[in-house]
């Protein structure tokens, strides 16, 4: 569904991602793991066209979308939730959701908001609160809800569980699996919590210092003792 071909990405003149290629198949979870500062977020930003792509291509359903401006990408059915700053703190929860449904038309937007609120009832109680007053868990819920507003087929999530209490993180991961199995979504996931994420993923990549050290089945990466010990803290 999404193919990345020898992508080189950076910010300004800083070159951070070197020749990374991989493919995410339909209705699978593809997880990127790796040490901090390895360039995982930068790679996602490159795919979205926020960071500078020096060379390489991004193909979505066979179409070259490398140079499609970021705001157009949502129209292709790609939803992205960045790692940080993924909500508008000065807007209310409702306004955040409305923005995420921007351009959908009023009735459809209301419909989607209704659906999302049904999925995350906790948000409904805070609907008129400024997003900056939400708890960490609620923020993350809001961010993911915003991602789902346009009913994207392809969902990119950057460390959605970071900073969440273990129980909430576990629940969130379960919901992500649910997105694949019940909502039939394709998911590109970056996770700090490598073991838990790899266990539920189909494919995986290990990204170290901007280069891919491993690409293959998630289970294989999980079982690879050397890589696991070296980079993932998996025993």
């Amino acid at each position: 569904m999404l193919r990345v071909e020898s992508l080189n990405v950076g910010y300004g003149k800083f070159h951070i991602i070197f020749d990374v290629s991989f493919e995410v198949k339909e209705r699978t979870i593809f997880t990127i793991v790796g040490p901090n500062g390895g360039g995982k977020s930068t790679l996602l930003n490159g795919i979205m066209g926020i960071a500078t792509v020096f060379s390489g291509r991004v193909l979505y359903k066979g179409q070259d979308i490398t140079r499609v401006p970021p705001h157009e990408k949502s129209k292709y059915g790609i939803g992205y939730t960045p790692q940080t700053d993924n909500i508008f703190p000065g807007l209310t929860v409702m306004e955040n959701l409305m923005m995420a449904a921007y351009g959908l038309g009023e009735s459809m937007a209301r419909d989607r908001i209704e659906k999302v609120l049904a999925y995350y009832p906790a948000l409904r109680r805070r609907i008129d609160a400024k997003a900056r007053n939400l708890s960490g868990g609620e923020r993350q819920m809001l961010a993911i809800s915003m991602n789902l507003m346009r009913d994207p087929e392809f969902i990119i999530l950057d460390e959605p569980t970071s900073g969440l209490a273990p129980i909430i993180a576990k629940d969130l991961l379960k919901r992500i699996v649910g997105m694949r199995d019940e909502l039939k979504k394709t998911i590109l996931l970056v996770e700090q919590n490598a073991k838990a994420a790899l266990e539920v993923s189909d494919d995986a990549m290990l990204l170290v210092s901007g280069r891919s050290e491993f690409i293959g089945k998630a289970q294989a990466l999980l079982k690879d003792e050397e890589l696991g010990r070296k980079y993932l803290g998996v025993k």
């Binding site: 926020i50 949502s74 992205y80 508008f88 703190p89 807007l91 923005m99 995420a100």
Partner: protein
């Protein structure tokens, strides 16, 4: 006149209202595109000139008709269209290409200074090329030439534009508030200001938001200038060079990161400029019996306010609050 007359207060309020609109406009483009627009005052003068031309060419014939006062409706709107277009042209031809190239803050400021000089000199040229009689009248036009005071209950006779300016500022303030909180596009403007990157990710055409912010900024400048045409005796392009300092003062006093702050800051600076010098010289005269003319130093007051705010509250302006709206 230590106790000010109502007429004086109203005229001060009119000056404050004009500056409120102008400071708001400068803040708007600063918040969206991070550009400090030095051409903003010249846009107001263009609005004023548009209105004076309109008076001279069109409304002069309506002098004795009640239709004459539709002037206060027609001219701000027309001026708004003209200056809104100028602002859009400025953004599209000058600012946006430079932002795309990664020009820094100071480079962008110089670009607006350069654009201002081009615009201001073209305006001078235009005024001088229109037939001499009109030019003379335009440059010296003030209330007396064109307006008749009307009788208003409780207030007595006064020039009508003085009421229109505060009303217009209030209407624009309310309208803007509704626009920013009730409309999709307005909310998307706030979203783009808070986090342009996320706005792009969720599908907002941030570029279009910026364009609209420039249009609104220019349009409100034209409106303010249109009514200022009656308040400022002897509008001339050169007046813009000092007026811009007052506009920035209002904007900075308001915090430069808040549209409501700018409206308040502009009103404060504009009315202070009118009131404080007169007040001080009145008190001085009362105490010493000597008259001093402080009104010609009135722009000093906005400058002093600007410096005071910058130096007393540098953190509030340059510090933490700013991070949130800085462009990614």
């Amino acid at each position: 006149m230590v106790l000010p007359s109502l007429e004086f207060l109203l005229s001060s309020a009119a000056a404050g209202a004009a500056l409120a609109l102008l400071s708001m406009g400068i803040t708007l483009t600063y918040m969206t595109t991070r550009v400090s627009n030095f051409a903003h005052a010249t846009m107001a003068i263009i609005g004023a000139v548009t209105t004076l031309l309109l008076l001279d060419r069109f409304f002069a014939g309506l002098r004795d008709s009640p239709l004459y006062y539709t002037l206060f409706l027609v001219s701000p709107l027309l001026a708004a269209v003209v200056t809104g277009a100028v602002a859009v042209i400025m953004y599209v031809t000058t600012i946006r290409p430079l932002i795309k190239k990664g020009t820094g803050l100071i480079g962008l400021m110089i670009a607006t200074l350069a654009f201002d000089i081009i615009l201001n000199n073209l305006l001078t040229l235009f005024l001088q090329l229109t037939p001499a009689q009109t030019v003379g009248r335009l440059l010296e036009a003030n209330v007396k030439g064109y307006l008749v005071p009307v009788s208003i209950p409780l207030v007595g006779y006064m020039y009508p534009h003085r009421l229109f300016l505060p009303i217009l500022a209030l209407l624009v303030g309310i309208g803007l508030h509704l626009f920013l909180t009730r409309t999709q596009f307005g909310i998307s403007m706030r979203a783009s200001i808070e986090n342009p990157q996320l706005a792009r990710i969720i599908g907002i055409n941030v570029e279009r938001v910026y364009l609209v912010s420039w249009f609104l900024s220019g349009a409100t400048a034209g409106m303010a200038g249109s009514l200022l045409a009656f308040e400022m005796p002897g509008i001339s392009p050169a007046a813009a060079y000092l007026y811009i300092v007052s506009i920035f003062a209002g904007s900075i006093v308001g915090g430069l990161n808040s549209i409501y702050g700018a409206l308040a800051g502009g009103f404060l600076v504009g009315s202070m400029e009118a009131i404080v010098p007169v007040f001080i010289s009145d008190v001085y005269q009362l105490v010493t019996g000597e008259y001093i003319d402080l009104l010609r130093y009135q722009r000093m007051f906005s400058f002093l306010l600007l410096i005071l705010v910058l130096l007393v509250a540098p953190e509030g302006l340059a510090g933490i609050k700013w991070r949130g709206i800085r462009r990614g």
